[in-house]
């Protein structure tokens, strides 16, 4: 046997030790976890046969519109597809990327979300429906922006780095970013992880009330949680008065995170949705508090499965970036020269060297991303996913994506059965019950 066949000392562990022996600190990268975890691929739909009949798959009417945050908000968020663009900071992303995402969301009647570092006016102008994040850092936090938003999202944690705050390497803390964040130019920004003004769930309820007062009860208020102790966290967030709970799993994307957190904290999307659903059900609030899932949504099937498990909507990050040309060689780029790996292998958003102008603050690189063309691609992609979702829904004999339910699925593995709480394919057995 050669060393390369060892599972314990796999080549990436050897490379990792070599790198850290030089570096003397934890390693940082973008994208998402490398762990192999149970995901939506481990679930399948049980489409119609003789027990129920399908709707015409390609055209019969199928509702995809959903309403988020109607629990207390007088103006809940109404989106035409249950897919919206997640919060990604201006700083991690370029201005052109933020504008493209805003325009794309507007084109398909959905929402986008600010992210760390405050709101970019161009992003507001591009986005018909904008969710404004309230993060521990409060960089650039402006009550005018809050009041002009369509929803507010209090970030407690992120799936890619639960228990830590934002991270932005100095190369990306360029002029405008440093000024918006009121930070020294070029510092390696490690943002706070605790909110400055509240600590526990009882304080959070007063914080939620404060935002509600400031926005005259109009805006739906969501609480974003990294998926760890999901059941307890969801109950506490719901009790604190959240209109919507966003559960962001361990497979969620990031612009920069310590690799050790990416791979070793949090739980996958599938069990996170199930635990959140059950927690809300236990409180009698399932259906009243909206549930959004994020982490590894790649196509219409992932969306459909997330909805069937109990989410009201999903948020997408990396998938939207890929639609913007992430990891794609385009005229003018040379991935190997510019970022050290072939297109298709890049996870180096944190370096600011993004060859396709998405995760960079370098004006030369940014110019490679045309916001209008980018918007069109992301809009096409969201439309494709929405069509895939509707197709699956009709094949299940349903005319509304809100009717998707766990009974529509079977699990392909014992693990997926246990985590999704649905029967293993070919059996009537739900494992782990």
């Amino acid at each position: 046997m050669v060393l390369g066949s060892s599972h314990i000392w796999a080549t990436h562990h050897i490379e990792d030790i070599h790198a850290k022996a030089e570096l003397g600190r934890y390693r940082i990268r973008g994208f998402s976890t490398f762990q192999k975890v149970t995901h939506f691929d481990d679930l399948v739909f049980l489409s119609t046969g003789l027990t129920r009949f399908p709707l015409e798959g390609y055209k019969e009417k199928c509702n995809t519109q959903v309403v988020l945050g109607a629990r207390y908000a007088s103006e809940p968020l109404v989106i035409d597809t249950p897919i919206y663009v997640t919060g990604m900071s201006y700083g991690a992303l370029s201005r052109n990327a933020k504008v493209a995402l805003g325009k794309a969301a507007s084109l398909v009647g959905t929402a986008t979300c600010t992210g760390d570092g405050g709101m970019l006016q161009d992003e507001r102008d591009a986005s018909n429906k904008l969710i404004y994040q309230v993060l521990p850092s409060r960089y650039g936090f402006d009550p005018h922006h809050l009041m002009g938003a369509n929803a507010a999202e209090i970030v407690v944690g992120q799936g890619a780095k639960p228990g830590t705050g934002g991270l932005l390497m100095g190369v990306k803390v360029a002029d405008n970013i440093a000024e918006m964040r009121e930070l020294p130019l070029g510092i390696d920004q490690r943002s706070p992880t605790r909110h400055p003004d509240w600590l526990g769930p009882d304080d959070l309820s007063i914080k939620i009330e404060q935002i509600r007062e400031a926005t005259e009860g109009r805006l739906p208020i969501s609480v974003k949680l990294g998926a760890c102790r999901v059941a307890d966290d969801v109950k506490l967030a719901a009790k604190a008065g959240a209109d919507t709970i966003v559960i962001d799993s361990m497979v969620a994307g990031t612009g920069a995170s310590a690799e050790i957190l990416l791979d070793h904290s949090g739980i996958p999307t599938v069990p996170a949705i199930v635990q959140a659903r059950e927690a809300l059900r236990e409180l009698g609030l399932y259906g009243q508090v909206s549930l959004v899932a994020s982490g590894g949504i790649r196509n219409g099937a992932d969306v459909a499965k997330a909805l069937a498990l109990g989410a009201d909507a999903v948020a997408i990050g990396i998938a939207a970036l890929i639609a913007l040309n992430c990891n794609k060689e385009i005229p003018g780029t040379n991935f190997e020269d510019e970022i050290g790996v072939k297109a298709g292998y890049c996870n180096r958003c944190h370096t600011g060297l993004c060859p396709v102008g998405i995760a960079t603050q370098d004006p030369v690189l940014e110019a490679r991303l045309d916001p209008d063309e980018g918007a069109e691609r992301v809009a096409n992609f969201i439309n494709s996913m929405t069509m895939e979702l509707a197709l699956l829904t009709r094949s299940l004999g349903k005319g509304d994506v809100r009717s998707l339910e766990p009974e529509d699925m079977a699990a392909l593995t014992i693990e997926a059965s246990a985590m999704a709480q649905i029967p293993l394919a070919g059996t009537n057995k739900v494992f782990g019950m």
Binding site: D197, R348, H350
Partner: protein, 228 residues
């Protein structure tokens, strides 16, 4: 001048009323019976002058841009949180997270402040007549904090920029905070600020700033270096 009896209104009604009166250009609003309620005078974006007779709960005079608010009493957590512009005066003691993330304007507390005063502060001036608790100025980014009395453990921990002046004893410095000699002109400025608030004791203030040793990671990977 308009008198508002807070006990006859819900907090939401009170805030709505304040917003309306401020928008109409009402010069002075006088709030009675605040009952130490949370979230009084939140999100006011017009200039106006408000006096609150009595103690308030969490988040009083927060998310504001412009108003001048005087509170004759004590305040709970996060008084003046995220203040953009304007002024907040408290005649007695403040709870934790005083003026957290404030970005501009002025907050003055005549008495003592709890833990984390000026946490994440991004601008403006925070003046505390008495003592301040632990983690004062935690991760402060810009602005000035003046503490007339003593300050607790970990002052100025991980601060980026900005200055903290302490008139009394320092519990301990936080990581990456250091003491620097205050110049004569800086001391005069501090004294004058205190005198504007009626505190005439010309103490030898200690100046605390960032040591700036945590600005950067000590090392970078090959590709990260290429970018710098």
């Amino acid at each position: 001048m308009v008198d508002l009896d807070a006990s006859a209104l819900t907090t939401t009604e009170l805030n709505r009323k304040l917003r309306e009166l401020a928008a109409q250009g009402t010069e002075h609003i006088h709030i009675l019976n605040p009952q130490a309620r949370h979230n009084i005078a939140v999100g006011l974006l017009d200039t106006c002058s408000i006096t609150i007779e009595g103690s308030v709960g969490y988040y009083a005079a927060s998310l504001m841009d412009g108003p001048q608010v005087t509170i004759n009493g004590n305040a709970g957590w996060a008084l003046g949180e995220n203040l953009m512009k304007g002024k907040v005066v408290l005649t007695r003691n403040a709870g934790a997270s005083l003026a957290s993330s404030m970005r501009g304007g002025e907050v003055f507390v005549a008495g003592n402040a709890g833990a984390r005063a000026g946490i994440g502060m991004k601008g403006g001036s925070l003046v505390i007549g008495g003592d301040a608790g632990f983690m004062t100025g935690f991760m402060m980014q810009r602005g000035t904090i003046i503490i007339g009395g003593d300050v607790g453990e970990g002052v100025g921990d991980s601060m980026y920029e900005g200055t903290i002046y302490v008139g009394g004893e320092i519990g301990s410095l936080g990581s990456d905070a250091k003491i620097e000699e205050a110049s004569e002109s800086e001391l005069i400025q501090v004294w004058e600020t205190m005198e504007r608030h009626g505190i005439h004791d010309r103490k030898k203030f200690t100046k605390i700033v960032s040591a700036k040793k945590l600005y950067h990671f000590d090392s970078l990977e090959r590709l990260e270096k290429r970018a710098v």
